[in-house]
């Protein structure tokens, strides 16, 4: 965090020409970002230490040459040498330091774990807060994708529906066509039937009229003599038949 603030203040303090140079150099032909040799720095785990503050690497440096106890032996021997030759003088401040060491040790052992637990919780809380916006954006975008997929699926359903509607319209057209065909057929048949009936009626009337006319004229043409002659002849025929 502090390093970022420092970086930002350094950037802010850059003189204008330098900033301009930095900005224009980004478009240089040779200005290709070297991700392999200069990767983006990431925040790692803290370095390991032993005895509270001595870097683990120093122990590893001894380990290959002297084994596990080597560094401790070296440290104890060095301290003994410093005490023995009074390079480190045990004056009154030394005992003050010893008592302070005891207090610091006790405080570390007693209050260290709960404080570190609380601080870890705070760190997690801060990280969660910082990430929340991003996480929520990702979540909302994913939801939008799901909605969009659903909408596409629905649109496909709409295409099916439109196809079905088109088929339905075609069916209706077919039905209307057939209905009209039937209608035409029936109309034509009705007219033909009418013509047939009319023709038959006319023929019947003509026949009847002709028959009537013929009968009327024939009966008009029969004279009383002829009638009498025919009647006589009939009687004569009847008499002839009666004799047989």
């Amino acid at each position: 965090m502090l390093s970022r603030v420092a970086l930002r203040s350094v950037v802010a303090r850059q003189s204008a020409p330098t900033a301009l140079v930095a900005r224009t150099s980004a478009s240089d032909a040779c200005g290709v970002r070297d991700e392999k040799n200069f990767p983006r720095p990431i925040r790692g785990e803290p370095g390991k230490v032993r005895l509270g503050f001595i870097p683990e690497e120093w122990f590893q440096f001894f380990h290959s040459k002297t084994g596990v106890t080597g560094p401790y032996t070296f440290g104890a021997g060095l301290i003994t040498y410093l005490f023995s030759k009074e390079i480190y003088v045990m004056e009154h401040e030394y005992y003050t330091g010893l008592s302070i060491f005891v207090m610091v040790y006790y405080a570390t052992v007693k209050f260290g774990p709960p404080i570190s637990k609380w601080l870890d919780k705070e760190v997690d809380q801060i990280e969660t807060d910082l990430n929340q916006g991003r996480v929520e954006t990702v979540k909302s975008l994913e939801e939008a994708i799901v909605t969009e997929k659903d909408a596409q699926w629905r649109a496909q359903g709409q295409e099916l529906l439109i196809q079905a509607k088109k088929e339905n319209v075609l069916l209706q057209l077919e039905a209307a066509y057939r209905e009209r065909l039937m209608n035409t057929y029936q109309e034509v048949k009705r007219r033909l039937d009418f013509q047939l009936e009319k023709a038959a009626l006319e023929r019947r009337f003509e026949q009847k009229h002709l028959v009537d006319w013929v009968i009327t004229n024939v009966s008009k043409a029969i004279t009383p003599d002829q009638e009498k002659q025919t009647l006589d002849r009939c009687i004569a025929d009847l008499a002839a038949l009666a004799q047989k």
Binding site: S3, Q14, G31, R40, R43, P46, G52, V89, S116, E127
Partner: protein, 107 residues
């Protein structure tokens, strides 16, 4: 190069975000891999101007910061390291006075 500027070799378009713990010049053989016979020439190649010296100290400071102070879950180690370093430093600068408190004449 004025105060607060980036090193001359640093090119943002190539190196990306500035890492204050990093040396952006042409790397030489690390000191741990230098042979005894080459130490003289290795030292002769070093840039010994005050600004280069300050740059080296600054990089060491930021390397320590990134390793022990800046990580997410830091223990008490950096504070103890600072404490011990301060004790050693002040013991060294006060050594001229402290040495009169010796208890024994002969060692």
């Amino acid at each position: 190069m004025a105060f607060g500027d980036y090193p001359k070799e640093y090119n943002p378009s190539v190196h990306g975000p500035y890492d204050p713990a990093r040396f952006y010049g042409k790397p030489d053989t690390p000191f741990g891999q230098v042979k005894i016979s080459e130490i003289g020439s290795w030292l002769a190649r070093r840039n010994k101007t005050p600004s280069a010296f300050m740059g080296a100290v600054s990089r060491a400071w930021w390397r320590w910061q990134h390793k022990y102070v800046q990580p997410k879950r830091v223990g008490m180690a950096p504070f103890f390291q600072l404490l011990v370093a301060n004790m050693a430093f002040f013991y060294a600068i006060n050594y001229g006075k402290i040495k009169h408190h010796r208890n024994y004449k002969y060692h």
